[in-house]
Amino acid sequence: MRIGVLSLQGDVSEHLQMFARLGVSAMEVASPGELSHIDGLVIPGGESTTIYMLAESSGLFEPMTQMIKEGMPVFGTCAGAVLLARRILDGRADQRSCEAMDIAVRRNGFGRQIASFEADLDISVIDKGGAPLRAVFIRAPIVESVGPEVETLATYKDSALTEPTPVLLKQGTMLASSFHPELSNDTRLHQFFVEMVKEGSS
């Protein structure tokens, strides 16, 4: 089993380090041919407009989208979640997404960098009785609507929010987070994704 990390722009190496710590084979994916070597894909954090543009120009966008829709496990973090979403709000006019996961995502919904933050999340849905996960949100998107087939695995709520907002979502073989699990020292979400890939390739 090998996991690919879309390596066009963004914090690719943090994801690779996470898989290295878990003892899982991982590789960078920067061209269409490399897609055939992987069993699952991570779309990292970065600038979603740039990643989209580079995915399009490198010829990766169409085959990658097709493989995701055909059930290749995928994990999108922050910009990666934007790229997976069925609908992007406040995107660049020509920006497209894979339209694979039934969520609508507002880019930078939490605000500019001055509003970026870290906070604890309850992830007991995937780690029963486990410690909270320290999550880092950088100019993070807000998931504004969630389709019926999407499972919300974690939400965030503090005194500034009236309702809990979904921040970790799963639909079939797709996993998305509006925060950056790759920036903290906690490997549990990457482990969770590795299990999803194992199930997919078995």
């Binding site: 600038e47 995107g91 100019r139 920036l183």
Partner: protein, 311 residues
């Protein structure tokens, strides 16, 4: 240096959920720099430029009144940009907007923070406001990027709270030679630290005029505690790929885009070259027929070397 520690880990006391937002932490500051890796940050002087940069795939823009080449030509004191210009650019694009404050001018930085810019560049391109002290960057919630010619300068800026380092190069020249000198100097000094034994680190810290804990950290990890980008004189896709191959994690392009014949095409080509910096076939493709690059200057002909500012 305690603010340096990543507070992020799963070890928390009991089950209490620290759910209130912690903003402006070191990890949050450095986090945005990590997201810019592999990308191009472009100097823009109007909202229209900013749109061109965003459409070409820039990961961020640097809002300023004059690109460095014009600052050089015009002379006089170069200061923080008019807030109205920065706001106009913030409205024009969805990507991060950075802006420059003068070295040591912490009030310009306070104004930029109040404007909500995404990153503050404490920059030698502007005329320094303090010839002894840089801004105490720990006092801000907005992250700072600072220039450095060498490892010691980089570590001094990090000790003051910089969350991103860019090698300085020589801004406004369209000449990559100083950028190469500075990125090479930093990466080769890092390699030297990595191979030193612990007893040597005390003398090396003194030699680099840098805090020992940071010197130890670099020696142990083999890289800076924050990302290392490259700036100052990048004018072509090949220049961008060159500094990336030399160890830069992203590039700043100032005058090189909007002082060229076809900014839009050149900008997109530099974005491609930065992403695929080790693919010569792609570099051929994106370098073809871009029109004139900015004309550029010999370093020996300069009256003013911006990289000498900062201490």
């Amino acid at each position: 240096m305690n603010s340096h520690d990543d507070t992020t880990s799963q070890k928390r006391n009991g089950d209490a959920l620290a759910q209130e937002r912690a903003t402006g932490t070191y990890l949050v500051k450095r986090g945005l720099a990590e997201m810019l890796r592999g990308g191009v940050i472009m100097d823009v002087v109007t909202a229209e430029h900013a749109k061109i940069a965003e459409d070409a795939g820039a990961v961020a823009v640097m809002a300023l009144e004059r690109v460095p080449a014009d600052i050089r030509r015009d002379g006089g004191v170069a200061r923080m940009s008019d807030p109205a210009l920065i706001e106009e650019i913030q409205r024009a694009v969805t990507i991060p907007v950075m802006a420059k404050a003068r070295i040591g001018h912490f009030v310009e930085a306070q104004i930029l923070q109040a404007l909500g810019v995404d990153y503050i560049d404490e920059s030698e391109v502007l005329t320094p406001a303090d010839e002894e002290h840089h801004i105490d960057k720990w006092a801000f919630k907005i992250p700072f990027v600072c220039g450095a010619n060498n490892l010691g300068e980089a570590l001094r800026r990090i000790s003051e709270g910089a969350a991103l380092i860019r090698s300085k190069g020589e801004a406004g020249t369209g000449n990559v030679v100083e950028a190469v000198r500075h990125i090479r100097s930093i990466t080769s000094d890092i390699r030297r630290l990595s191979s030193a034994d612990h007893a040597e680190l005390y003398a090396l810290a003194k030699q680099h005029q840098a805090p020992l804990p940071l010197v130890e950290e670099v020696a142990n990890t083999g890289h800076l505690p924050v990302p290392l980008f490259c700036a100052g004189g990048i004018a072509t896709p090949a220049d961008a790929a060159l500094v990336m191959q030399l160890g830069a994690e992203a590039v700043f392009v100032g005058s090189g885009i909007f002082k060229s014949e076809n900014p839009s095409r050149r900008a997109a080509a530099i974005v491609e070259a930065t992403a695929h910096y080790d693919d010569p076939d792609l570099l051929v493709k994106v370098s073809r027929g871009l029109g004139e690059a900015m004309s550029g200057s010999e370093i020996a002909s300069l009256n003013l070397k911006l990289a000498e500012r900062g201490w």
